[in-house]
């Protein structure tokens, strides 16, 4: 399936501000936001995911992080990490 049709169901949802797919080092591969925001989000969220993942694994080494949702005043960031990539979606539900 093409990238357009893969990401578009999500992008078409109400309030979705952007989708970023980054590789495991935090370098963005695909994004629907502008470059500077993309790089910023990818870099910062990469660190957050690493920290969260190490936290989970420190508590129980058999456990692993599967999904993260960060709810803020203005929007919600959903992060789905994997060993090869991670998917970031930013949504403002009250839009």
């Amino acid at each position: 399936m093409t990238e357009f049709s893969l990401l578009s169901p999500i992008q078409g949802q109400k309030g979705v501000q952007g989708i970023i797919v980054a590789n495991s080092e935090g370098i963005p591969i695909k994004s629907t936001l502008d470059n500077s925001s993309t790089v910023q989000y990818a870099g910062l969220i990469h660190q957050l995911v690493m920290k969260a993942r190490s936290t989970i694994r420190d508590i129980d080494p058999q456990n692993d992080l599967t999904f993260m949702r960060v709810r803020s005043k203005k929007n919600e960031i959903m992060i789905a990490p994997d060993k090869d990539f991670f998917l970031i979606v930013i949504q403002n539900p009250s839009d």
């Binding site: 399936m1 093409t2 169901p9 990539f85 009250s94």
Partner: protein, 782 residues
């Protein structure tokens, strides 16, 4: 040691010193002449004793004061108490000699000193001052050299040799003049280990004469050891480990050149995207692409969804063409290729698809948060920050004041199903969030292909699974034993069992199309039931039963590649002849040669005894039959004079059932009573579907063409408690109650499935079953 090391150049005459650290022993050799055994010994001796356990070199024979001795250039001689010459011998001697029991440290000849500067130059640093540890020779020869080693190592003797430095300078001059011109060859080699002191212990036999004396002496010695004042002056010493210098590593990569491409989503663009869809999709998907075109007026998301109808298999080659169409970043750089390849890999991975699905559900959960919370019967916590939510909260509180009402929570609808009438709906037996909806138009002349869409509460925008059928879908049922099996009955009489889990939309399930016994007319209802195997009475085998327009009730089982059936019952047409003598009726089974069969429209199995079932026919009769008797009906209930559209046993009261018919009425029956107990009529429209509420025994819902009615027998038997009119131009066609929530799901002729929540249905406090019983009794007695 360090000091001496530094000065070794200066002290040519000085006797030898340092040995490399690897040596087991170190000796430091004094510098300068002897001033006496005492002073000398301190500097001369020593050992960096740590390595050797066996022996240690001792310098002077006495304990040393902390004097710093300067200078003397003469050879050093060390004497011990008995004035034995115990001067350390040079250790670098080619022939170290045999291991001797006594210390031998010799004076180091001056001649050898010439070798020193080069050879020993490197040894200086590691030898700290501790080497100049005291050389206490204890006359008591103990082989416990550990103590001594400690002593040696812990001495911290500040050394300063100012004069020596002066000498060093003068000496140095000599060196430079003479020595540097020559090329000196230096041979550094290891010599053998030699012990400087070896005092083997002597053994005395217990029986010998000296034994007692020896033992006494030993004891005495121990006493002395215990009692002596510790001469240790322990000094704190710290060791510093050298940390290597950190090395910073920088990595650089070329920056990505990014070009933003905006896509303007106007209607014109919609068309272009549609056009792009077509070459990508398979031939089979032309249908869905065809739907694109009429939907031009929709906003962007509509179009994007239609393209989703294509298979989820990834076509790698086509990526290049569509990247330009999307609004994503355009990577012009060479490095972009790597990113593309990575992207391809990611797109292909299953986890990515899964994550997309999860993220989509999360997004939808956020968007529909209040409705989902209402469905799940959870309180919606007001968002303290946003002022928008307050409206919803207020509206909600307003609702509780009014009477019983329905609140629309959401509508399941998508492009695929728009325009296709809903014919049947069913919940999954195992996962109560999964709803299967069958679409099919079978009242009209043209037969459009049918569709089954499986919706999940978690994704309100797009069905989880879609199955295209060749003809209109008339009935659906999920299996209880294998919850992903969905049996679909269609207008052309075939029954197909699909697996809802399978990702491939094109796979056809097991079908009865090729069976010789298949239904000749539309299959009106299907049901999976647990049938007890009669022999053991314990096993519950699940069987698929169907009732069709050809008047047969059949039990299906899988046979070869398809399904085959055996007939459980044939619905014979019963001709009712009434005698004129009023009231008396005689029935005559029309046993003519051509036994006509009447189409069966619905059936329902008894909640407790699964071999008894009711079936409603085209004639308006309701027959009660048993699975074990395929010839005769157990009972026949007559009241309706139009086709009975639905029968339903009450889940709470096993004797009671409801039936609805196209003659505008709903009848409440009690088993074995051939006349209905109660009849309900509200609108002058054919009632299509009727269902009992799973939660309240006296509540049931009915849907006729124009409205949804919720009846509550405990409050009124004449009028429905809630009436929800259908949207204009739309007919409501089917109804389901939700088992988890106080919700009602209604399907209509436009393909929409609406979820309503029942509010304020103030069903009485007392046990509802009793109420129903009372009602029935009172009604029956009338």
């Amino acid at each position: 040691m360090s000091a001496t090391g530094g000065k070794e150049e200066g002290k040519r005459r000085c006797p030898l010193l340092l040995r490399p650290a690897s040596r087991t022993l170190n000796t430091s050799v004094s510098h300068g002449g002897p001033r006496g055994a005492h002073q000398r010994s301190r500097q001369t001796t020593s050992v960096l004793g740590c390595h050797s356990r066996r022996s240690f070199s001792l310098g002077g024979s006495k304990v040393l004061e902390k004097n710093v001795v300067q200078t003397p250039r003469q050879a050093v001689q060390v004497f011990d108490e008995e004035n034995n010459d115990v001067t350390p011998q040079p250790l670098y001697q080619a022939d170290p000699g045999a291991v001797q029991p006594m210390l031998f440290v010799d004076e180091i000849s001056v001649g050898s000193a010439s070798d020193q500067p080069t050879a020993t130059g490197s040894f200086t640093l590691p030898f700290s001052r501790s080497v100049f540890g005291s050389s206490r020779i204890s006359s008591q020869s103990t082989t416990e050299s550990v103590d001594d080693e400690d002593m040696f190592s812990k001495r911290d003797i500040p050394l300063s040799f100012p004069d020596v430095k002066v000498k060093k300078d003068t000496e140095k001059e000599q060196v430079t003049e003479d020595m540097l011109k020559d090329i000196t060859e230096v041979f550094i080699s290891e010599t053998d280990t030699f012990s400087l002191l070896d005092m083997p212990s002597s053994f005395v036999s217990v029986d010998a004469d000296e034994a007692e004396a020896t033992i006494a002496r030993n004891h005495q010695y121990e006493e002395v050891c215990r009692n002596r004042v510790s001469r240790d002056k322990t000094v704190e010493r710290s060791v510093q480990t050298l940390t290597g210098t950190t090395k910073n590593k920088h990595v650089q990569s070329n920056g990505l050149m990014v070009v933003d491409a905006d896509v303007c989503m106007s209607t014109a663009t919609n068309v272009t995207i549609c056009d792009m869809c077509e070459p990508l999709s398979d031939a089979e998907q032309e249908e869905t692409a065809g739907i694109c075109n009429p939907v031009k007026t929709d906003h962007a998301e509509g179009v994007t969804y239609s393209s989703r109808g294509a298979d989820r298999s990834v076509s790698v080659g086509s990526t290049a063409t569509t990247v330009s169409a999307s609004g994503s970043l355009k990577e012009v750089d060479v490095k972009a290729l790597n990113a593309e390849m990575e992207w391809e890999l990611i797109m292909l991975s299953e986890t990515f698809q899964l994550y997309l699905q999860t993220v989509e559900r999360s997004i939808l959960q956020n968007s529909f948060h209040p409705q989902l919370a209402a469905y799940r019967q959870l309180p919606v916590l007001g968002d303290p920050e946003s002022p928008v939510k307050n409206e919803i909260v207020e509206q909600r509180t307003g609702d509780t004041d009014g009477g019983p009402s329905l609140q629309c929570l959401w509508v399941f609808s998508c492009e695929l199903s728009r325009g296709r009438s809903v014919s049947c709906m069913t919940w999954n037996r195992k996962n109560p969030d999964l709803l299967a909806v069958g679409h099919g138009e079978f009242n009209s002349g043209n037969q459009k292909p049918g569709l089954v869409s499986c919706w999940s509460i978690k994704n309100l925008k797009w069905p989880e699974h879609i199955v295209h059928c060749d003809s209109a879908v008339t009935t659906l049922d999920f299996s209880a034993n294998s919850p992903s099996q969905l049996a679909v009955g269609t207008h052309d009489g075939s029954i197909t069992i699909h697996n809802v889990h399978s990702q491939d939309n094109r796979s056809h399930g097991v079908s009865s199309r090729d069976s010789p016994n298949r239904h000749l007319g539309p299959v009106w209802q299907l049901r999976w039931t647990q049938q007890e195997v009669s022999s053991t009475g314990e096993e519950k085998v699940e069987a698929l039963l169907s009732v069709g327009a050809d008047g047969r009730i059949s039990k299906w089982f899988s046979f070869k590649d398809g399904l085959d059936c055996i007939d459980l019952m044939k619905l014979r047409r019963i001709q009712n002849t009434e005698t004129k003598a009023g009231g008396k009726r005689t029935e005559m089974m029309a046993e003519s040669v051509l036994t006509a069969l009447t189409p069966g429209l619905c059936f329902d199995f008894h909640p407790t005894d699964s071999s008894i079932y009711l079936t409603g026919t085209w004639e308006g009769l309701i027959h009660q039959c048993s699975c074990s008797n395929s010839e005769q009906f157990l009972e026949t209930y007559r009241k309706h004079f139009c086709p009975v559209n639905c029968v339903a046993w009450s889940p709470f009261n096993p004797d009671v059932f409801l039936s609805c018919s196209s003659d505008w009425t709903i009848q409440l029956w009690k088993q074995h009573h051939l006349k209905p107990v109660l009849g309900f009529i509200s609108a002058q429209k054919a009632v299509y579907d009727i269902k009992w509420s799973p939660k309240w025994p006296t509540v049931f819902g009915a849907v006729n063409g124009g409205q949804l009615e919720i009846w509550d027998l405990s409050s009124s038997i004449l009028d429905p408690v809630i009436v929800q009119p259908a949207a204009p131009g739309v007919r409501m066609t089917s109804l389901l109650f939700s088992s988890q929530a106080d919700c009602v799901v209604v399907g209509d002729s436009d393909g929409h499935v609406t979820v309503y929540q029942l509010k304020n249905l103030n069903v009485g406090e007392q046990s509802q079953v009793d109420v129903l019983e009372d009602l029935i009794c009172s009604a029956a007695s009338r």
